[in-house]
C-alpha cells in the first residue's frame, strides 16, 4: 500500500468530494474498472472524500453519471502539483540551495570529537592536547585525514597517561580511542631508585624513601638516587632497625643525547639526459589502468619518479581513486666528489630529518661536532634534554652487588 502511495505522489493525485445517494455504487464502479481509491472517509451523510490518481480522475465521468453522484476536486496533491507551486518561488529555491550547500559544506568538517577510554579531567586534558595538535571541531576532515598520523603522534607524546591512541573519522565525528596506561602495583619488597643514564640533577622530589643526591649533583648510570633502606631506632628496645621499603619519587636531570650522521665525500649522482618517458594512469582501489604513454620506451639506465593526485578520498584509504603520473628519465651515473660545504649540508639535512622525533623534548640549540674520517665526514649533534632518570632496582640485589664489589654507598 505504501508503494502505491509513493507512486501516487510522483504521478500526482486528487482529493475528491463525492455527494449522492449511491456512493457505494460509485466506489464499486471505480474499483471494478481497475482504478485505485484510498483514504475513503465519510465526512457527512451522503458525502465522502477519497483520493484518486490524476489519470484515474480523467476516466471517472461515465461512472459518476451512472451512479448519479456529484464529484468535485477538493485538492490537488503530489509532485506535479507541488512542482508547479514551488517552481516560481525564487526565495524557496535560494533557501533550498543554501541549505543543501550548507549541509554539504558542514559534512566535510569534523564537528564532534568523541573520546573513548578516558573520562573526567583526563578526557578534558586530552581534548585540549588534541586541540593544540590541530584536531578541533570545525576543521576540514580532509585536512585532518592527511595530518592524522602527526596528530596521533603529538597527542601520545604529550599524554603520558595513554599507552596507545588512534583517531578514526566517521562522518562529522572524530572518534579518538585511547588505551590507558596501567601502572604496575608498587613493589611490596624494598626497592631503590637508581639513575637510568648519566646526567646533571635539576630536581629531586621524594615520595617514599631517602634522597641520596641533591640538585646540582652529577650522576652516572646506575648511581643510587633515592634509597629504599630506612633505619630507625626502636623506642622499646633501643636498637637500630633497618627497613626496606619501595622507594618512590621523581629525579629530573639534564641529560645529553648524541645523534650521529656519517656522510661520504664521494657519491654517485645521476646526470639527466634529455630523454624522458611519461605515463599517465588511473588507480581505483587495487586496480591500475594505463591511460596514456608507453612504459618500455626508454632503454638503458633510468630513474623513476611517481606523482599522485587523489580525486576521491573514501573512508577506506585503500579504496581511493587517483591519477598517477610516472616519469622515467634516462640518466648516466657519475661518481662525484662533493665539496666540504656540500657534504656538511647533506649531513645537516639528514640530521634534521632524524631529529624530528626529538621535537618538543630538546632544550636549546644542539651542539655540533664535525669529525673528518678520510672518505667520510661524521657529524655528532648533542642534544640536551630534561627528563626523569629514576629507575627502580631491588634493594637486595643492590646490596649483594655492593658486597661483591666492596662498594660503599
Amino acid at each position: 500500500m505504501w508503494f502505491n502511495r509513493i507512486i501516487s505522489f510522483f504521478t500526482g493525485y486528487v482529493e475528491i468530494v463525492a455527494r449522492g445517494a449511491q456512493l457505494e455504487k460509485l466506489i464499486n464502479l471505480l474499483t471494478g474498472s481497475g482504478l485505485f481509491l484510498w483514504d475513503i472517509k465519510k465526512i457527512a451523510p451522503e458525502v465522502i472524500t477519497a483520493k484518486l490518481r490524476n489519470h484515474g480522475f480523467l476516466m471517472i465521468r461515465p461512472f459518476v453519471r451512472k451512479s448519479g453522484t456529484m464529484v468535485k476536486i477538493y485538492r490537488k496533491r503530489g509532485w506535479p502539483c507541488l512542482r508547479r507551486k514551488i517552481i516560481k518561488r525564487k526565495m524557496f529555491w535560494f533557501g533550498a540551495v543554501l541549505t543543501v550547500g550548507t549541509l554539504l559544506y558542514l559534512s566535510t568538517l569534523t564537528l564532534f570529537i568523541k573520546v573513548d577510554g578516558f573520562s573526567g579531567a583526563e578526557r578534558e586534558q586530552l581534548i585540549q592536547t588534541l586541540k593544540r595538535a590541530g584536531l578541533k571541531p570545525g576543521t576540514p576532515t580532509k585536512e585532518l585525514f592527511r595530518e592524522k598520523r602527526r596528530i596521533e603522534r603529538d597527542a601520545i607524546i604529550k599524554t603520558p597517561e595513554a599507552v596507545w591512541l588512534g583517531i578514526n573519522f566517521k562522518g562529522v565525528v572524530a572518534e579518538v580511542k585511547v588505551v590507558k596506561r596501567k601502572n604496575p602495583p608498587p613493589p611490596s619488597s624494598g626497592c631503590d631508585l637508581i639513575a637510568e643514564r648519566d646526567g646533571l640533577i635539576t630536581k629531586v622530589a621524594v615520595i617514599r624513601g631517602r634522597a641520596v643526591v641533591k640538585e646540582g649533583d652529577v650522576v652516572a648510570r646506575g648511581d643510587l638516587l633515592i634509597s629504599g633502606r630506612l633505619s630507625r631506632i626502636d623506642p622499646e628496645t633501643g636498637t637500630v632497625v633497618v627497613e626496606n621499603i619501595p622507594a618512590s619519587g621523581i629525579v629530573e636531570a639534564r641529560v645529553w643525547h648524541d645523534l650521529e650522521v656519517i656522510q661520504p665525500k664521494e657519491v654517485w649522482r645521476a646526470h639527466f639526459l634529455n630523454k624522458q618517458n611519461v605515463v599517465y594512469s588511473i588507480r581505483w582501489g587495487n586496480r591500475t589502468r594505463r591511460i596514456w604513454g608507453n612504459v618500455n620506451r626508454l632503454e638503458g639506465e633510468r630513474v623513476w619518479e611517481r606523482y599522485r593526485k587523489r580525486i576521491f578520498y573514501g573512508r577506506n584509504p585503500d579504496r581511493v581513486v587517483e591519477f598517477i603520473k610516472d616519469v622515467w628519465q634516462a640518466v648516466r651515473w657519475r661518481k662525484t666528489t662533493l665539496s666540504l660545504d656540500e657534504v656538511k649540508w647533506e649531513a645537516l639535512r639528514e640530521a634534521k630529518a632524524k631529529q624530528i622525533f626529538l621535537k618538543g623534548l630538546v632544550n636549546g640549540i644542539p651542539n655540533q661536532t664535525w669529525i673528518d674520517e678520510g672518505d667520510f665526514i661524521k657529524l655528532i649533534m648533542t642534544f640536551e634534554m630534561t627528563q626523569d632518570i629514576a629507575m627502580l632496582a631491588p634493594t637486595e640485589r643492590r646490596i649483594n652487588d655492593r658486597s661483591d664489589t666492596g662498594e660503599k654507598n
Binding site: 500500500m1 474499483t31 481509491l37 484510498w38 475513503i40
Partner: protein
C-alpha cells in the same frame, strides 16, 4: 451449474490440498487486532458508514461494525478497513 462447479472446485482443492481462496475465490479475511481488516476476493461495497461497513462476498454479506471506520484502500480484489472494529458478522452465508 455454478454451484456444481464450485462444489467440484472445492473437492478438487481439498483433494490436492490447495488453498480454497485461490481456487474458488472464497473470501479471505485478515484481522490485525481490532484495528485493521483486510478482505480479499470481495464483491463490492454494499453500505459505507463510519460505524457500519457492509461488503459483499461470494458466500454472502460481511457486516463490520465499529467506530471511525475508514476504507483505507479499495482495489478490485482487496479492500482494507481501519478503525475500531467491534464486530464482524457473516450475514446470510451459504
Amino acid at each position: 451449474m455454478k454451484l456444481k462447479q464450485s462444489r467440484l472446485g472445492m473437492k478438487l482443492a481439498e483433494f490436492l490440498e490447495l488453498p480454497l481462496d485461490t481456487v474458488i475465490d472464497l473470501p479471505k479475511m485478515i484481522i490485525s487486532g481490532n484495528q485493521q481488516l483486510v478482505i480479499e476476493n470481495h464483491r463490492g461495497v454494499i453500505e459505507y458508514e463510519s460505524s457500519v461497513i457492509r461488503v459483499g462476498t461470494k458466500l454472502g454479506e460481511l457486516k463490520i461494525t465499529g467506530a471511525g471506520l475508514t476504507l483505507v484502500s479499495v482495489y478490485k480484489e482487496e479492500l482494507t478497513v481501519t478503525g475500531k472494529i467491534e464486530r464482524v458478522e457473516m450475514v446470510d452465508w451459504r
